[in-house]
Symmetry: C2
Amino acid sequence: MNTNKLKNFARLAVEFGVNLKEGEDLLISSPIEEPRLARLITEEAYKKGARKVSINWQDDELTRLTYKYRSQETLNEVADWEIAKLDYQIAEKLSNRISIHSQDPDLLKGLDEKKIAEAIKVRSQATKKYVKYTMNDILSWLVISVPTEKWAKKVFPNLEKEKALEKLWQVIFDVTRIDEDWEITKSNWENHIETLNKKAKFLNDYQFDKVHYTSKNGTDLWVELPKDHIWMSAGSTNAKNDMFIPNMPTEEIFTSPKKDGVNGRLVATKPLVYNGLLINNFEFTFKDGKVVDFKAEVGEDTLEEMLNSDQGSRYLGEIALVAYNSPISNSNILFYNTLFDENASCHFALGKAYPTTVKGASDLKDEELSKIGLNDSLIHEDFMVGDKDLNIKGYKGEKEVDIFVDGNFAL
Amino acid sequence: MNTNKLKNFARLAVEFGVNLKEGEDLLISSPIEEPRLARLITEEAYKKGARKVSINWQDDELTRLTYKYRSQETLNEVADWEIAKLDYQIAEKLSNRISIHSQDPDLLKGLDEKKIAEAIKVRSQATKKYVKYTMNDILSWLVISVPTEKWAKKVFPNLEKEKALEKLWQVIFDVTRIDEDWEITKSNWENHIETLNKKAKFLNDYQFDKVHYTSKNGTDLWVELPKDHIWMSAGSTNAKNDMFIPNMPTEEIFTSPKKDGVNGRLVATKPLVYNGLLINNFEFTFKDGKVVDFKAEVGEDTLEEMLNSDQGSRYLGEIALVAYNSPISNSNILFYNTLFDENASCHFALGKAYPTTVKGASDLKDEELSKIGLNDSLIHEDFMVGDKDLNIKGYKGEKEVDIFVDGNFAL
């Protein structure tokens, strides 16, 4: 692994990712198996004047033991101190958050899905009020990944452990536009942000009423867009008006669909890992926004658990555009990790919509968000629909405009 | 590293160490660098019916960054949620505690000692009320160690990293009496406990008024013992009346000195790592229990910081006997880790005395403990005084008895 690139990754995460300012707190979550990036980020953050950097260490093996052995009752338990910790780190200190996400895609395979789903749901309900701090961009947040052994072996099953890890490092550096030289890394990101912003601006200026997805795989979906919707790209703005970049890599331009304005058939083009369980070759039928039918070749039970999470989990909360001809997509690698797979492909998310995607909506209450067509749910799960045959047309009144032709932007 | 021995280590820690019972909680602290034992302990605990196993992961490198970069103000900050966590895990759930201690002996070298000492003192004060749960054996607790790279290289500076780690694993398994076979491991410990108990019983039956330490290195110290003192050995008993073993390995028999009854010169025979800083070739002069003079060839400032921690930090809180001819001592290895070094050598501790070492004292308040001669302090720091020339005599009224002759038990 290239240590210069690793250092630039840390600097990129702190400077461009969360864009940490002097006196602010930082909260990192990191796998224990690969702590080097977390340590470099910590040092970089302190050098930028961070007040306090804290780490929540994750260990896949312990997570698996937890779900395997604990009773439903203790899994459902959310202790007062855990809420007090969120109150302090999130609500009070508005800590910048960097999540280093590198889960084994098969982590929870073979365990009791219903038990796990209930535990996650109960925890999500107990901590729901903290979701807005990220979903509404009140604080700066960033999701990145580092290679871990089981994930690397899942992505490159034919390589030996060390080679798989090395290869995954290379790919992550490449698609995250990280160079050995900091100035080049920096200008890579400045240019990339500008390119994405231009496309978003075009779509924002047009303010399409609805879009129509078709592909040879059977996708034929109409999606209405809310009034005053905003197509967001790489950069977001936090409550202090500082820009940050929530995902690295990022290739997407996204907004929210109108909750009850989605109709037709939508066929997924990549597998999805939900709560450590794999779902593959699946599709949905929507009527007035709701998933009224679905099937999956792999993980249909898991998909059903996900759709039955709550009242909002059968409705869409995100619609995102990614060119078929883009770095992650061109790598032709299936990552089994949403951060990468979603940035390789046009995608949707089931569940909660980002209030930031409609003008003035960040300050609205849940009921008001619902009125303007933004879905609410405890879940927000991306799934991929892009392929080389995808066409997307936008409609504004009588006018019809090609947005995507044969998988790529036609703008 | 021998995986059978590792499994037996985990089983030993759960069954003999904390002696975990069904429905109890377990709280582990472990270095992220060597998570295998913590994972095996977790699984073993769940198999024994643990309700909930939690882990506090430690990372030396982050600890160093924390002390290096944070301001005194933020280092001194103890957040409400941290107290709430202790309230829940320690005071409410009485979690069994297993601390896997494997710190780099030079961890904090070169940093601001005063800043670190103040931060540790403030935190100790804020969390003082939770100390009794271990010091009074209210819950079961256990300290063990696993090799980590910097520690292994400090112990075996001439070996390469992998060899140093492997060697340290071997030594830890050996001195902890762990065999590849569980039944042998089990009987090793049953026999060892019995042997230590016999020695403790002899001393307890005698109830010496005072003991006299002399050695060719200059040690000449009188230590009075409190009325009804108890010499403890390997096993302790928690508030539920379950036996547990707080240290693995353990070779010591210990009690408390009478706070104001210590007089003379005491020369340390091994280095001490205090808060990540090394102190070496040091000695003390005591008058009426108090350290009135001291010197150290290495780390004299650190020693001074330690002695000035609070009102009780210049008085002794523990007196412990370990034969010069015993497994850890015979290994001739300097571990720079108190768990091992204290069990290789007769030692004392400066600071708080264990209330469990005087009959009926566990239920007494701080003021009452002081009256019967037990010292109170925020610190409890062991330091080694054993060598091949150490003689210890016990005095009961007119009677003089050899306890140690030439470094070994004369009982």
